[in-house]
Assembly symmetry: C2
Homo-oligomer: 294 residues x 2
């Protein structure tokens, strides 16, 4: 697995030489494997490795997890930044789900540690089975092609070097190397929907196709490449057809109508995102309404 891991990192050019990589370390199987593998080839890759652990304050065992993570990093000689946040309180304040609050808390913590300590990259332990779950989760919520691309191997400062590896491969590697890990706290906090996808939907789909996670992972990869293409073309067309004027954004209607419907749709999406800052609450039927207004 060491070799395959290093090859994957190199083939996808995940880190330039001299990169400083902060690993998000829950202490669970995935992140323990990720840190071990990355630490193992840090010289070959020419990167510096650190770790960050956030205690979510969500379970009685979470203090034990923090202690495990601390011993584990000490044994590797990897610097560790630890933090604490009461996620249930945060979720209550935000009025949202636990999983979403935990995700945001982790993200904030990791980005803060990274920026305060000069890390150029943040590495996360998501693997192919996570990717398949994310895809199905979004499919069930009615996402379009861009949402279905799910998680990217690289997006901004975030990298996911294990995205093409299966949970089974990771567990086998840990067993082979006789590495300990804790039951991932994030598994307990899995929201109801995600849990059902893991324990009901995926097992059923497996009876149709035992390679379903692999297929979905590849599909996500291809959708991400297409998404990247749309981003590039839309940026080009936005430059050509949209102009800021009196605080608004103006589109040349005649030129827009000459575009292929797929391109026009992506352009409208891009312009809405630019105007609002994000696309929350914008569904595909909104996009279709704007399109038919044109």
């Amino acid at each position: 697995m060491d070799k395959l891991f290093r090859k994957t990192v190199e083939r996808h050019a995940l880190f330039p030489r001299g990169a400083r990589v902060l690993v998000g370390l829950s202490g669970g199987a995935d992140s323990v494997a990720l840190l071990t593998l990355l630490h193992g080839c840090r010289h070959a890759l020419g990167v510096d490795v650190g770790a960050a652990h956030l205690d979510h304050g969500m379970r009685a065992e979470s203090a034990g997890d923090a202690a495990f993570v601390s011993r584990f990093c000490a044994s590797l000689g990897v610097p560790l930044w630890s933090g604490f946040e009461n996620v249930p309180v945060r979720a209550k304040k935000a009025g949202g789900g636990l999983e979403e609050a935990a995700r945001l808390a982790r993200r904030e913590f990791l980005e803060k540690v990274a920026s305060e300590n000069g890390f150029s990259h943040i590495a996360l332990g998501h693997h192919r089975d996570d990717q398949a779950e994310t895809f199905l989760h979004r499919l069930l919520r009615g996402a379009g092609a861009s949402g279905l691309a799910a998680m990217a191997m690289r997006r901004g400062a975030y990298v996911r070097p294990l995205l093409h590896f299966s949970r089974r491969q990771i567990l086998a590697y840990l067993a082979e190397e006789d590495l300990a890990y804790v039951e991932d706290a994030s598994n307990d906090s899995l929201e109801f929907t995600r849990n059902r996808i893991r324990h009901q939907v995926l097992p059923l789909l497996h009876t149709f196709n035992p390679q379903i996670e692999e297929h979905l992972g590849r599909l996500c990869g291809r959708l991400a490449v297409e998404e990247d293409y749309w981003d590039a073309v839309v940026a080009q067309e936005r430059e050509r057809l949209a102009h800021r004027f009196e605080g608004g954004l103006w589109l040349d209607r005649g030129e827009c109508l000459k575009l292929h419907p797929a391109l026009r749709r992506s352009l409208i999406r891009g312009v809405l995102e630019e105007l609002r800052g994000d696309l929350r609450g914008i569904s595909s039927s909104h996009l279709e309404s704007v399109d038919s207004l044109l």
Copy 2:
């Protein structure tokens, strides 16, 4: 439903005035609704309507279905072309599944009747729930984005005017109009996989999202629009970068490498299809191999 149907046909410009439309009529709910609706607005649309029924020789009742269809067409005053094929024998010869053999037999029969009798279009009764099943079927087989676009509302001579309507809407319309129909023979011939998608997968997905068929239908529509875009761009790039020479097809490697990976991939796919006539047996890993060869 009459009005909504006519609006859908007009909005998607499914038939030009003067079109001659042959309806594939199994006698089941979907095709009975389709023929009735199309017959009802034939004057408004300015189209001629006929029907074709193929007896698949697959069930004891199939002769009864043929008789039902014949009476039904007589009651509407719609000309009917009937045919017979022993589908189980055909499937045995081809060494494939019953459903695939039935599909091919129907397609051949419809195209023969259409071409011999001057029909410009062939209309099929597929609806949104069929579309959702097709999408999931292909997703489970590991299809890429283009395969996931599933069935098109219009492709070549084929049109599917009911593709945005649900099975429930169709059954409600039939009940309201007090129209009789037979249990669709094609439901019996549903292959095992498709049956399980209908009776196990979709009901489970429904517990996550009661609008799942609608979502999947819209997703297919959007993927089809993107697919159409890729077809157009690939045709352009093929013209620019590929040349026939000594029986082969030559791609300009340097120029190909300058293309965005998504576009290069689509181009390779298009060129392979042109060389081989179809893409049977070509998987996405084949495409990736060709791409890395470049």
